[in-house]
């Protein structure tokens, strides 16, 4: 009788496991609180977008733009008319086919939110969908980044949504997560701060090419992906992975790597080799950083290595990079970086002395709750003090930094002089994507540098269609950005994921991509 009961129980457990299929249990790098990847630039919303939506183009592992939803396209000889044909068999999760009208509506909404999209729309005269599976973009004048914009791999990614969803005003969040991507979002199981669930989209038709970056075949080999949003304590994450309670940690804390690497059941996988770049940003509106010479003195003082050593600590996970555009990508170059890369503290002191610096304290904001960047301001404060600056290091949580950096008030009245942050590679790898090299003054990213020459060069870059010329322009933009001191790049780092050994098929990309993943 007892044996019979045991057999029944075992059968029940087996049935349950079979019914659930293969479940991939993931601890994402942060909380998922906004489900509209066009409305916000948050990386978690972007990663949610890659699960649910598909893109017209993708960026492969070698940073080349490749077609994704698009089957073919043509460009008129004057580069002003772009015609695209969609792949056959593309359907949304509600069963309706993806049409050119859906694409046009999605691009229009994206073009109102995304910085690169907004730039593209300044060239766009109109867009239309002449038939169900085609769409066209008419440009007022030629520009050289149509495909780069459509295949943009990081926030905001031009995800394609149904027209009825994409018609939501750009300043309002969407309510409907219907996409045509490889996974379907299970809205009923979404518990904010607890878990988000995605199930395999059985109707998804992957491309035939091998998966590469955000391009290629998006094959799904698990039935369900569960994002554990409650597990945020770094040590608890490690413990859970070691015990096999979760399968993947997207971004372990740097101090967690030694115990993870020592565990034979765990693998550390660098699925984002281009990684991230640290930077500190000046506020150009107020003293002392409203003075170009003072900014150059700070650049000379802030060598990259001390920041990387203090913040990352693991030699194989960081690299100095004398470029404002990600090293190892087409526009990564040391041009104009000598002020920082070949400098030393004595030069910084001399520059500061000759700048007429009057001892105005630098209000430097330090986030205490963001482990991935919280040591950068400490190092910056020390180096700036050594150079002769007075520094007022103010501790606060990251969301206060985010709130305060928007303020254009003087530092003594709740404003600021400097903050530090990190960017994933595709967000800064060219002069149009990188918000820190804009010189549009009050319309620029926080810090608000004004420089007509920089903007002229960026405009020329946007119009450029010759790749060799664009590289020259990118170097000129960077040289100018170093000259006026838009910001201080602080080197690059990677933050590999950790996974159980039975997980394979990781795809390289800017975020964590969950197609092609196998669980044995």
């Amino acid at each position: 009788m007892r044996r019979l009961a045991f057999a029944a129980a075992a059968l029940a457990v087996f049935s349950l496991a079979t019914a659930q299929g293969k479940v991939l249990r993931v601890v994402p790098h942060s909380n998922l609180n906004i489900l509209d990847p066009i409305w916000t630039t948050q990386y978690m919303a972007r990663n949610h977008g890659y699960m649910v939506y598909d893109t017209l183009f993708g960026t492969d592992e070698k940073n080349r733009i490749q077609p994704q939803m698009v089957a073919s396209w043509t460009e008129s000889p004057d580069h002003r008319l772009w015609s695209f044909t969609l792949r056959p068999g593309l359907t949304f999760h509600d069963g309706k086919p993806v049409t050119g009208e859906d694409v046009v509506a999605s691009l229009e909404r994206w073009g109102k939110r995304d910085a690169m999209g907004q730039k593209l729309m300044t060239f766009v005269e109109r867009m239309d969908a002449p038939s169900a599976n085609t769409f066209r973009i008419f440009l007022r004048e030629a520009c050289g980044f149509v495909l780069e914009a459509l295949g943009k791999p990081s926030s905001n990614v031009p995800f394609i949504m149904p027209k009825r969803v994409a018609e939501t005003p750009a300043d309002k969040q969407i309510d409907d997560a219907t996409g045509s991507g490889p996974y379907i979002f299970v809205k009923e199981e979404f518990k904010p701060g607890d878990r988000a669930v995605y199930v395999k989209n059985p109707k998804y038709v992957p491309r035939k090419e091998s998966p590469s970056g955000t391009a290629g075949g998006k094959h799904v080999y698990v039935d369900r992906v569960e994002w554990n949003l409650a597990l945020r304590d770094a040590q608890a994450q490690v413990n859970a992975l070691k015990q096999g309670e979760v399968d993947i940690l997207e971004q372990p804390a740097f101090e967690s790597y030694p115990p993870l690497q020592a565990d034979k059941n765990i693998q550390v996988v660098n699925s984002n080799p281009l990684g991230f770049q640290y930077m500190c940003r000046f506020n150009h509106l107020y003293a002392p950083f409203n003075n170009q010479k003072v900014r150059q003195a700070a650049l000379a003082a802030m060598a990259e290595e001390p920041f990387l050593r203090a913040q990352v600590g693991i030699k194989e996970f960081y690299r100095t990079c004398p470029s404002m555009f990600t090293c190892g990508t087409p526009y990564g170059s040391p041009k104009g970086s000598d002020i920082q890369s070949k400098s030393n503290m004595r030069k910084a002191q001399e520059l500061l002395k000759s700048s007429g610096y009057d001892g105005t304290p630098v209000v430097l904001m330090k986030p205490t709750d963001l482990a991935s960047i919280q040591k950068l301001p400490d190092v910056a404060a020390q180096l700036l003090r050594q150079a002769g600056f007075k520094v007022d290091l103010q501790a606060m949580d990251w969301n206060t930094v985010v709130t305060r950096r928007v303020k254009k008030d003087p530092p003594a009245q709740g404003g600021w002089n400097m903050f530090c942050t990190a960017w994933v590679a595709p967000d800064i790898w060219n002069p149009l994507a990188n918000p820190a090299v804009s010189g549009l003054g009050e319309k620029s990213w926080f810090g608000w540098p004004t420089d007509a020459e920089l903007e002229k060069l960026r405009d020329e870059f946007a119009r450029g269609t010759d790749e060799a010329r664009k590289k020259v322009l990118a170097e000129a933009i960077q040289a100018r950005a170093f000259e006026i001191g838009t910001h201080v790049p602080l080197g690059e780092y990677v933050n590999p994921l950790a996974a159980r050994r039975n997980i394979s098929g990781f795809v390289t990309g800017p975020g964590n991509l969950y197609w092609n993943i196998k669980k044995n």
């Binding site: 909380n31 609180n33 906004i34 916000t40 630039t41 948050q42 990386y43 919303a45 939110r113 910085a115 926030s155 300043d171 309002k172 969040q173 309510d175 518990k191 904010p192 701060g193 607890d194 878990r195 554990n228 949003l229 409650a230 597990l231 945020r232 304590d233 040590q235 608890a236 413990n239 859970a240 070691k242 015990q243 309670e245 709750d369 606060m396 949580d397 969301n399 206060t400 985010v402 709130t403 305060r404 950096r405 928007v406 254009k408 709740g414 942050t421 960017w423 967000d427 918000p435 009050e442 319309k443 990213w445 926080f446």
Partner: protein
């Protein structure tokens, strides 16, 4: 009282640093986009108007909608109630079952080794940070012995054994401080009762010592013990953030902290109002329980 809480919470949040619009927009957002979001959330309106709208909704039973998740705050609280109530209940069950007998025994053997050991344990219970104890328990029972899961919460509906397996470590972790607290209060209250004339009379009548301790001493010491237990329950429901973080329990404590960090004003206002309501309800229940615990008390 709830109105005072509502005014205070609203005012504190609006005057504290932090702009939900800037946080929601993401790292690469422009000032213009942030201003658009702020307007969309209604944060550009005068504070009096914002307060009036919110209070009007609250008075009609609507706690508002989360800025982030765009779902009702009441729904968010509802999702987190089970883990929090379950954790609080199990914690208090363990705490009461262990601490009350210990406190009675310590009072009975006042000055003896058990009393001194209990006092030592109390100091330790108060002094050891919860996260240290949590990691030690996880290390022993989950990583070394493999008996219990490291983290997570299983609903009662998923099976009672699974539910208990996930909750036993967090509840044990949390109960230590309550065992220390309740045991001390029990000891003091029973010790005081043991010095009363009716105890001497009971012993003179030849009643067994167990009956003297339980029916006479403990019964008369019940009021302060019930008060401490009640306050403990209210504190537990008000959020045990560290324990919930270490064990990844999606309870009200984490919801509160997440909402505060994200400056999700409607959620913060809603949960604080809810906590206030719980405090009032628990205190009322404690006050009512005095009538049963001590027949001399009349309202």
């Amino acid at each position: 009282m709830l109105l005072v809480v509502a005014v205070l919470v609203f005012a504190l949040l609006r005057f504290a640093p932090g702009d939900p619009a800037a946080i929601m927009a993401g790292d690469a957002a422009t000032a213009e986009q942030i201003a658009q979001i702020r307007a969309g959330l209604g944060l550009d309106r005068p504070l009096v108007v914002q307060f009036g709208i919110w209070l009007g909704k609250v008075l009609s039973g609507d706690l508002g909608e989360s800025f982030y998740f765009r779902i009702k705050v009441a729904t968010l609280i509802g999702q987190r109630l089970e883990p929090t109530f379950a954790l609080a209940a199990l914690t208090m069950v363990i705490a009461v079952l262990v601490s009350v007998p210990l406190g009675v025994l310590a009072a009975w053997r006042h000055g003896g080794w058990l009393d001194r050991a209990l006092m030592g344990f109390s100091v330790l219970g108060f002094s050891v940070p919860v996260f240290v104890l949590a990691y030690l328990l996880i290390w022993l029972f989950s990583l070394e012995l493999g008996w219990l899961p490291v983290q997570g919460y299983a609903r009662i509906a998923d099976g009672i054994w699974n539910f208990l397996r996930h909750l036993i470590l967090p509840a044990t972790t949390l109960s230590v401080i309550y065992i220390a607290l309740i045991a001390r209060v029990t000891r003091a209250a029973v010790l005081e009762a043991l010095g009363e004339d009716y105890i001497r009379t009971a012993r003179a009548k030849g009643l067994p010592e167990r009956r003297v301790l339980v029916r006479h001493a403990l019964a008369n010491a019940a009021v302060p013990i019930a008060t401490v237990i009640g306050i403990g329950i209210a504190i537990l429901i008000g959020g045990v953030v560290v324990t919930e973080s270490v064990y990844a329990i999606p309870g009200l404590g984490r919801l509160t902290v997440d909402a505060v960090l994200a400056r999700d004003f409607p959620t913060i206002q809603g949960v604080i109002l809810f906590f206030s309501l719980v405090y009032v309800a628990v205190n009322l229940l404690i006050d009512l329980s005095y009538v049963f615990l001590d027949p001399r008390i009349r309202y």
